[in-house]
């Protein structure tokens, strides 16, 4: 086996041991929830260590499973402890009033230039920043609709690859643009997590 892989595997197992030891020691429910997130990251490290294209395809479902379990558990914790108060408006500083538009424009523009998955992530950060600063009195149905259509385009591109391989360039462009919108729309929802009128 390649030495880098063994070394990485050793590091991942060591991290897992630390995380499990912390979980054994911890008794507070909320802190345990946070520690399980640590375990989740080690899981992703295990998959990422494979280091091939296949690993890239496998890491996304792994991430989705981890996040969905974390969200489900947080919801159970919230109901269990009876926290029903909506989150308060926090953090008001001047830069949050002046910067969002230009920062979001730069990040979204750069994301469109990059396109594809990293482009979507960068543009998404821009949109998150905008929503966190300005509040989200926007129309979420619109974002969700765009996200749905981009998913359809992505599938169309996928079928183009399979059925008409000669039009691969068109399919690449279609998939790149669609995944950009898809990732950006999903990430922008994070900016709305502080609650609001239509969140």
């Amino acid at each position: 086996m390649i030495p880098e892989y063994s070394l990485g595997l050793f590091a991942a197992f060591a991290t897992a041991a630390v995380a499990f030891y912390a979980l054994v020691r911890e008794t507070d429910d909320l802190h345990r929830l946070l520690l399980t997130d640590l375990v989740e990251i080690v899981t992703l490290a295990f998959i990422a260590l494979v280091g091939t294209d296949l690993a890239e395809a496998l890491i996304l479902p792994g991430l989705v499973v981890g996040i969905s379990e974390l969200i489900a558990l947080s919801e159970i914790y919230r109901v269990k402890e009876g926290h029903i108060h909506p989150p308060r408006k926090g953090l008001r500083i001047e830069v949050m009033d002046s910067a969002p538009l230009i920062m979001a424009a730069i990040l979204v523009g750069y994301g469109i230039v990059l396109s594809g998955f990293p482009g979507g992530a960068i543009a998404g950060v821009g949109v998150i920043f905008y929503f966190i600063c300005r509040g989200q009195h926007e129309r979420f149905e619109l974002i969700e609709t765009a996200s749905g259509y981009s998913w359809v385009l992505w599938i169309v591109a996928f079928f183009t690859f399979m059925l008409f391989p000669q039009y691969w360039f068109c399919a690449v462009m279609l998939a790149g643009g669609a995944i950009l919108v898809k990732v950006m729309a999903k990430m922008s929802l994070i900016g709305a997590m502080r609650g609001g009128p239509n969140a």
């Binding site: 429910d29 375990v39 295990f46 496998l58 379990e69 109901v79």
Partner: protein, 217 residues
Amino acid sequence: MLSIGGQDLFVLEFGDILHYFSPYTLTLFLLAVLFTGLAIISRPEEQIEIAFGGDAYYAKETTLPEMRFRRFMAIACGLASIGAMVSGDLFNYTLFTSMVGITNVGIVAAVKNRHVLNAAYAYGIVAMIATLPLFGSAALIVATTGTLSIPALAAGGQAVPLVGKALLVLGVVGEGMAPFYAAKAEMFRAPGAPYVIMCSLSSLLIFLRVVEIVTTI
């Protein structure tokens, strides 16, 4: 090689993704389909509690949204079990197993009762930790052998590392712990019935399937 699956009855190859039926997995698949059907048509159990020391009793109503949510979770759990039974790809199997875990958390947590929610929370933490050995094993196996397809692993010369198999079993055991926590919250004859039966069935199915996988690869 010990084969408990028997002769392959049907193999569907779709690119890298592969599904197959052997008599063993076909039986499990039919069980999963049958119980998903039962979850679709069954009604929630009306629970009646008797006040101790008197003649009084009171009936607990299950509200429509709660019933809908529990039924949805039971059906989703059945579909995830079906997927785990037919998949011939190790990573898809682990993904379906973790989906069984998530839906089991949902089935247990659908009952709004502090006692039950505590059990659901404890189970959720176990299920989440179990994704480490589960995905870890799939990653280890693909890194050492270069494939995730179960028939290829069964036929190929590369030895699957024992630690990979052990981690896989550990992960499936962690995801399938739901009946233990449901029993701890005394749900079987009470708040969760009859949907909570999906917890037991899906755990049984994924345990039986992992035995087949570990002995085949």
